[in-house]
Amino acid sequence: MSEAATLPRARSGASGEAMAAALLCLPAMLAYLLLLLLPTAAAVLLAFTDYELGAPSLRWIGLENFQELTEDRGFLVSLRNTIIYVGIVAPASIVGALALALMIEAATRGKALFRAVFFLPVVSLPVAMATAWQYLLHPTIGPLNAFLAQMGIAGPAWLTSSDTVLLSLAFIGIWEAIGFNLVLFLAGLTAIPRELHQAAEVDGVKSAWERFRLVTWPLLGPTTLFVVTITMIRSVRVFDSVAVLTQGGPNRASEVLLYTMYTEGFTFFRLGYSAAITLVFLVIVLALMLLQTRVLDKRVHYG
């Protein structure tokens, strides 16, 4: 140990620590500013302009983009579809994952196997799996409709009919989301002490459902709230399956927020308008987060 190295540090004290902290934070701060803060601010400002890519200039147009949004049938359909999609995927994948987690937790064997099977979609390339679904759901050569035909049922054109397309995408969305939620629920369940269930049993709570209602459910509250928020935010962001399978079609029946934002911005190059859609998307995500921290947080913590 060298005296010389420690002495300046001892002398400089607090200011030396501040200097070190500044140096350690500097790269991250620069990247944060350039790649996150400024572009986000720019996106917000852009939403109030008529900027188009390649246009020589841009004009401040106030709320005109947002006014146009309220009259744009395409956008309204897209917003409605996104809400329907989230409205199907979030509840189904949360309730499904919770049920699966309880069953897997109670199983005497095969826990790791089942967890792996249901988790597999989370680590599988979504674009590739969407392609696999396209084959599976293909109206003429797809195994699903071939199976239905053997049962005497004429299967619909799952992904190309406007009646079923959103439902089919939501089904794929549930399939993708359930394993992720399952892992979070399993982690939450492991944290509940076994003695509590035994204590409830000793206290005369005989049925498994009552034990779930009185012990597991309240203790799982924070996990559940967390899963609810994260699932809704993740499903608001639906993009891959739409981009691969339907491009928003047929006739806008599967148009969703991020895909509309993408086409307005990068196909039609209406960046100002696309930024306005991005802002709507951001507000929805922020509202969901606020729901978690402010409104529900107080109610779900047990004790």
Partner: protein, 283 residues
């Protein structure tokens, strides 16, 4: 303690029923994989007959795979995926570990303010800065480069947040001891803190690689053509440009591009599951 199997009154049926249900549902969950692999091994005419046979009648063919390798630069896509994921992870750790350490263990003016900025950043999905970043990158002439694919993701506020939480739990004595040994703050970060941060770093690495290997949104914006396409983009362009209705080749391509991460997952299941459970909050 009551051993359930030793108790003659315990009815075995609910357990068996549960097991059967889980097996059936598990099988249904695997259907896309099963049919994807099955179709990738079938000749085209057999696929178009839409038979429900899983096994190819002719004993299977690798011609679909050969066609994929002929028509698309598969290895280039996979390599691009590796470069992009490794590049992103490298810079994320380079930026986030020191910042996380400073926020957790050092006292300096403006620390709370800085942490507030991190929390603020957590609220913003990466789709929001995408438009201005695209304009900036196209102005810089960066479209179709690794730089364009990597740069927007090099800063992860989530990583800073995760490491800060993790470092807070490390004992202060560890750092004091290193200081007494004459180490400066930078070598403390890389030689004392980082080795102790391996569990958090592994969890984050898994989260980051899964997210970026699978991402389609950003590559679709900044890359056209095959040279810099990631696996996700590769499958998409192959599907729309080359394959058309050639489902055999499409399924083969999907199998090839899905395999690396799935294989990694199967080999390190527990780490993956734990990693996703710890990092779940970012989604």
């Amino acid at each position: 303690m009551a051993e359930p199997r030793a108790n003659p009154r315990v009815n075995p049926w609910p357990g068996l029923l549960r097991l059967g249900f889980l097996l059936l549902l598990g099988l249904l969950f695997l259907m896309p994989y099963i049919w994807m692999i099955s179709a990738s091994l079938k000749p085209l005419d057999e696929i178009f007959r839409a038979s429900l046979n899983l096994l190819p009648e002719t004993g299977g063919t690798l011609r679909n795979y050969a066609r994929v390798f002929e028509k698309v630069p598969v290895l280039q896509y996979l390599w691009n995926g590796v470069v992009v994921c490794a590049g992103i992870l490298f810079f994320q750790l380079l930026f986030a570990v020191p910042a996380g350490y400073a926020l957790a263990k050092l006292h300096f003016p403006g620390r709370d303010w800085l942490f507030g900025a991190v929390m603020l950043g957590l609220l913003v999905p990466y789709h929001v800065p995408a438009l201005p970043l695209y304009v900036g990158f196209s102005w810089l002439g960066w479209l179709n480069t690794y730089a364009a694919l990597i740069t927007p993701s090099v800063i992860s506020v989530f990583a800073i947040f995760l490491f800060r939480q993790f470092f807070k739990s490390l004992p202060d004595e560890l750092i004091h001891a290193a200081r007494i040994d004459g180490m400066n703050e930078l070598s403390i970060v890389w030689r004392v803190i980082l080795p102790n941060a391996l569990p958090a770093a592994t969890a984050f690495a898994i989260f980051s690689v899964v997210a970026h290997w699978n991402d389609l949104f950003w590559p679709l914006i900044v890359v056209t053509g095959a040279e810099r396409a990631t696996p996700a983009l590769g499958v998409l362009t192959f599907r729309s440009d080359e394959a058309g209705d050639d489902f055999g080749a499409l399924m083969a391509a999907s199998v090839i591009m899905t395999t690396p991460l799935v294989l990694a997952f199967l080999l390190a299941q527990r780490r993956f599951v734990e990693g996703i459970a710890t990092t779940g909050l970012k989604g």
